[in-house]
């Protein structure tokens, strides 16, 4: 009798478990269906955005429209397919001095890039490259490397400046830069200068377009402005000048200034845009160990 009761209990539990499992599976299927619907919507939106991006590229930049200037710098990736060059980036305030070499090429919906950062004209402190679905970074000073699988399918979505700065209900500000999977390390300071596009240029009464001029064979927009109190304290500077490539939004040069002295300086030393070149890849020395943060 006891055995029969035990068997009955066991069967009941299995039955309850099965009913519960089927219910869960049904929920999962519904969720997958909803996700597929969203994915289709995202694809349609992406196609619409691509059309908008092409229109943007075709348009010349209105130098009287401050938002258009900010958006050109903020969405710079959308305005070129390949770039190769280098820049010098230094600060008297905190004492860094870098030379950054970069190569980036989009071709047939495939992307490759390479960035090398050299400190004080001596040692490479890091090198990174993306090729064939893999982003590799090496740190020669500590003989470590990182690898991450990454499937870059597009440049991301063009974002209007009005969508970027959001005031949260708790009073904090949120800066939602455009989503992109082009992670170019130090080269972003020139090729995708999102922090400056949004931060330095946030208060439109503090800056103006002064002129256009030629720099390294490119037409650049020269912007002069006053830093807001937050940046004045942070950067130990009062004013700034930016030289933005008019066609692509690449930040070719910038200076922050206090009492006539340059405090921070970024200056492009050579650049080729949409020309043919080969992109290097990082070779990981066999003596290097993998680095896994966050353990």
């Amino acid at each position: 009798m006891k055995k029969i009761i035990a068997c009955f209990t066991l069967i009941s539990c299995v039955a309850i478990g099965s009913v519960w499992g089927l219910a869960e599976w049904s929920d999962i299927k519904k969720k997958i269906g909803k996700q597929e619907e969203k994915a289709i919507t995202v694809k349609v939106n992406a196609a619409t955005n691509e059309v908008q991006q092409k229109k943007e590229i075709a348009n010349s930049l209105d130098l009287k429209n401050q938002e258009a200037i900010q958006e050109r710098m903020l969405n710079s990736y959308q305005f070129f397919n390949s770039v190769k060059g280098s820049f010098h980036y230094a600060s008297k305030d905190v004492g860094f001095d870098y030379t950054v070499n970069y190569q980036l090429k989009w071709k047939n919906k495939m992307v490759k890039y390479y960035v090398k950062t050299v400190e004080n004209n001596k040692n490479a402190i890091d090198e990174l490259s993306y090729d064939a679905g893999e982003l590799k970074t090496i740190y020669p000073n500590v003989k470590k490397y990182e690898k991450i699988k990454l499937d870059i399918k597009n440049k991301g979505v063009f974002k209007k400046i009005g969508e970027v700065v959001v005031r949260n209900s708790d009073g904090t500000k949120e800066y939602r830069y455009p989503e992109t999977q082009l992670y170019l390390g130090m080269a972003e300071n020139s090729l995708h200068s999102k922090e400056i596009a949004v931060g330095f240029l946030e208060e439109k009464n503090l800056w103006t377009v002064k002129r256009t001029e030629q720099l390294l064979g490119r037409q650049v927009v020269v912007i002069e402005g006053t830093l807001n109190p937050y940046y004045q304290e942070k950067l130990m500077a009062d004013t700034f000048t930016l030289w933005m490539d008019q066609s692509t939004g690449i930040l070719m040069k910038y200076e922050t200034i206090r009492n006539g002295e340059i405090i921070d300086l970024l200056e492009t030393t050579n650049i080729k845009i949409d020309e043919e070149f080969e992109v290097e890849t990082v070779a990981i020395p066999t003596t290097y160990d993998i680095y896994t943060p966050g353990k």
Binding site: V142, I148, Y177, E179, M186, V198, L235, T292, P293
Partner: protein
């Protein structure tokens, strides 16, 4: 008596299976949900954070919940880290934000990584960069995970960075696409 023992054992097994799905994932791990972890989350030296290197604990009125960690200089022969130990979440992408407000935060090459430890070896799903020196004050979007997996967020400071590095609050907004 044995009847009750068998029933009790079955009940335990059943309850375990029902609740298993929620054991490891964050409660916020749903589309549109968000998780926030501060530095020293809820207590100095909190188990929600982990540190590699001499990060100083500092109070500041501009910081999230009034405090942050600060690393005045970069290492000379290793890599320093500040970690926010978000619960592992699979099935959703993570849009990751870092709170940067204190004007001492000036690392011109702050690098953020994310690892999901539900698989072995742990899978890296974020490899992004933020210039804390030129970043505006507030929540700065640092990037989206490469796969629908989130977990521990690490701010890494390799040799060479010169501006002081700040670690304040971090936030993940989950998304199903």
């Amino acid at each position: 008596m044995k009847r009750f023992q068998v029933l009790f054992a079955m009940l335990i097994v059943f309850v375990f299976f029902v609740s298993y799905g929620g054991i490891q994932a964050s409660a916020a791990c749903v589309n549109g949900g968000l998780d926030v972890l501060d530095n020293d989350n809820n207590a100095i030296g909190s188990s929600d954070n982990a540190i590699v290197g001499p990060w100083e604990y500092q109070k500041s009125t501009n910081s999230f919940r009034g405090d942050h960690r600060y690393l005045p200089s970069s290492p000379t022969s290793s890599i320093y880290e500040y970690n926010w130990k978000f619960s592992s979440c699979s099935g959703h992408y993570g849009n990751v934000y870092a709170y940067v407000w204190d004007t001492k935060f000036s690392n011109e090459r702050a690098s953020y990584r994310m690892f999901n430890h539900q698989s072995f070896p742990a899978s890296q799903t974020l490899n992004v960069y933020l210039n804390q020196r030129t970043a505006p004050g507030g929540w700065n979007y640092v990037g989206k995970t490469t796969h629908a997996k989130t977990g521990v967020l690490a701010l890494i400071v390799p040799t060479g960075a010169s501006g002081g590095t700040g670690a304040d609050a971090a936030k993940i907004v989950y998304s199903s696409y």
